[in-house]
Subunit: 444 residues, 2 copies
């Protein structure tokens, strides 16, 4: 028997590593343990299935277990790893069987964090494909009773919009004083207005206290902020935490972010032949210069690739993240990269900010919509620290040019002259990113 | 009387210079001579007026002469400068009057280049607002007789689409063997298919030989490639050349590109107190490292700003261009930046190319469309040299992230790891730009 790589977790991080490793070293014995019933699925796509835009659910599966097996991977479905013995190089599975390994990749992803309130066990979720399918089925079966979404981040907003699309009366509750907590508050206010415009009942600074159940054990109301909100569905979208318990019990190091610590080659900190990728691991933030934990399929894919290369004799560093993110909610693009004002402040930067309001197209073009660009730059040096964009359709993808500028360490003075594209159907004479750079340049 | 700046040309280059200079030095006496009847208008928007998307024509005027006058500029409309005496610091106007100056800005723009064939004087054009208005009126009055567009570049394609929108049977003729000559041929083939799909009759390698006129002197047919094409409208879109005659006669230097030579501060080569901005001047191409002439409002705006700052005691260099361009034609985004394969070859680079076909959104999302990204990179170093994008709605603006990468001098290995944004409604897990970088990386 040759060298064996065991992979815990069959989604983006685990499967991209497995696929790359197999391609580079076909004789490597690769076994993947996935406790669920799908591999390589798009969790990000679940709200669009709930909203009826994507059907059937299986559309969200990029590659089935069968497909992976045809490529030479030993993929075990419904196989939950419950113990790791790093010394003995052995995994224990839920059925008490043992599996040996030479190299191990921990790609256990993230787990939801429902609020610990009475009745929460009757709530629905949308983290896995199976949960997404159940949620959609429940809405199809009985949507008229209304829904309460706990949490107003990406997933909360996307689900709330999906529910409204399906004709479900929807209330969104968050303990925070703004929606979409990763944005600065005045940018998030645009998002809240759009959500309310769509008919979502947004209740902020509101703590969910209890899910009240009917005789059949199903939700009949949520008690929150002293009120009772009648509902048939309670959906948890209060965020996720890296799933590190298994690895931590095995003696692996958890960093300050709460995720597994790695070096820049995706090696578990202080371990030989143990790798980590995806939502459960830390990433180097290129602007903060600290380790952060960001759950996103694009990072998982890249980190898995780094593991796949390094585990087969390569020498490749993952160059880190900027915190770039985007979504489209309620006809509004929302995107950010690098630091928000809040993050710049917390990290102790001496910074300036500027926000411009402009148009997605030449103002005279039909379909032109309002958009806002907020930039954060370092005072004195003018180095770009981050950007946020909120606005009409197509506004958001402009965040990529800011991400590229951040990646290259550009200052806002250079940024304002870059030869970005212009034509009336897609931009004003100066792209909004350039307009924003011009505006903030005066302050640095 | 204080120091006087005379500006020849009241569009983007001239007016942005005048506006910036006035803001910085209110006591500067600024006089603008514009031979037409509009200032600061969007020539790029004319096809959308012809197509009926933008109405009335005046929507395309960003700032009227009156508005400029309120800001303290002396704007003379219908005022054609016919002579420049740089020694005597004096201009001669068409009415034989003289106007003195201390500083001069030449912003004379570009002029159309209709083919020198019999009957061409009966053709219509769309370079100025007045021409655009006349063309639209002519189509409104008699669209049923069909139209022949000479030229298949940006303007030719945009006009052909506008005419088809208005229900006009449209033939587009070009002597070249591909449409959209600035793209590489296989990328242009997608554009041709889209144009034909919209119903435009595209005839390549076809020389227009004569415009045949009726008894009233109006077009009745075009003779081209040995055929006669019946038509009521012939529209010239065969490109423009920098309008340099006036300046050349005054002794200013014309560069190899055919446009006026400038230093990096937009000073006319070898002249003191004489400036050039916009379509009539050369720009430094950052990848070719030569002077080029690119007619685009976004450059004119930036160069005008540089003049406005330097003429009022500032010290600012225009950092050059990449040749970034974008348009949306026949439901297709078309964009490029840096060098095409053809340009890289002509310039003697040792290069590799790669083209990927992918989707504008996650493949399972409704509204996802095909798109193609072609990259050119330097062999050995992997330095990005250029990119082209053709594809469905929203594909094109991704060119800006490539432009930013080019500006920063990135190589394709760095590029493939950049933290670009991902969400199913706007991108696959890896943005197409990253997918293309991964693909070309293997070849460098």
């Amino acid at each position: 028997m040759g060298r064996r790589l065991a992979v815990i977790g069959g989604d983006a991080g685990g499967m991209s590593a497995a696929a790359v490793a197999k391609r580079r070293e076909p004789e490597l014995d690769i076994v993947v343990f996935e406790r669920g019933s799908y591999t390589s699925f798009s969790a990000c796509g679940i709200p669009f299935h709930v909203g009826g835009e994507v059907d059937p659910l299986e559309e969200l599966v990029a590659r089935t277990p069968q497909k992976h097996r045809e490529n030479g991977l030993d993929v075990r479905m419904g196989a939950e790893v419950v113990g790791i013995d790093l010394g003995a190089r052995e995994l224990t599975l839920a059925d008490d069987s043992q599996e040996g390994f030479d190299e191990l990749l921990v790609a256990t992803g993230a787990r939801p964090t429902p609020p610990p309130i009475p009745g929460i066990e009757a709530a629905e979720a949308s983290r896995t494909l199976a949960e997404g399918g159940r949620l959609r089925a429940a809405i199809d079966a009985e949507g008229s009773g209304g829904a309460v979404v706990l949490g107003s981040g990406y997933i909360g907003l996307e689900l709330a919009e999906a529910l409204v699309r399906q004709g479900v009366e929807t209330t969104m509750i968050d303990v925070a004083d703004q929606v979409f907590g990763v944005l600065d508050p005045e940018m998030a206010a645009h998002v809240q207005r759009a959500a309310e415009g769509l008919g979502i009942d947004v209740r902020l600074e509101t703590q969910a206290e209890e899910v009240l159940l009917d005789a059949g054990g199903r939700p009949r109301a949520v008690r929150a902020g002293g009120n009772e909100i009648s509902t048939r569905h309670v959906i948890v979208a209060t965020g996720v935490k890296p799933a590190v318990q298994l690895a931590e019990e095995a003696g692996m190091t958890v960093g300050e972010s709460g995720a597994l610590a790695v070096d820049d080659h995706q090696r578990a900190a202080g371990q030989e032949g143990v790798w980590v990728a995806g939502d459960c691991c830390e990433s180097h933030h290129r602007i903060l210069e600290t380790a952060v934990n960001i759950q996103l399929g694009t990072h998982a894919n890249k980190q898995g690739r780094v593991v796949g290369i390094n585990v087969t004799g390569g020498d490749l560093a993952f160059p880190g993240v900027l915190g770039t993110a985007i979504t489209r909610i309620c006809h509004l693009d929302i995107a950010l990269t690098g630091l928000t004002e809040r993050q710049a402040k917390e990290a102790g930067f001496d910074y300036v900010v500027e926000t411009i309001e402009t148009d997605t197209r030449a103002r005279y073009m039909p379909g032109s919509e309002r958009m806002w660009v907020k930039l954060v730059a370092e005072k004195g040096t003018g180095r770009l620290l981050g950007g946020q964009i909120v606005g009409g359709a197509t506004a958001g993808k402009r965040i990529d040019s800011l991400a590229m500028a951040l990646w290259a360490g550009m200052d806002v003075e250079s940024l304002m002259w870059v030869d970005l594209s212009y034509a009336p159907p897609v931009s004003g004479t100066l792209d909004p990113v350039l307009v924003a750079a011009r505006a903030i340049k005066k302050l640095v």
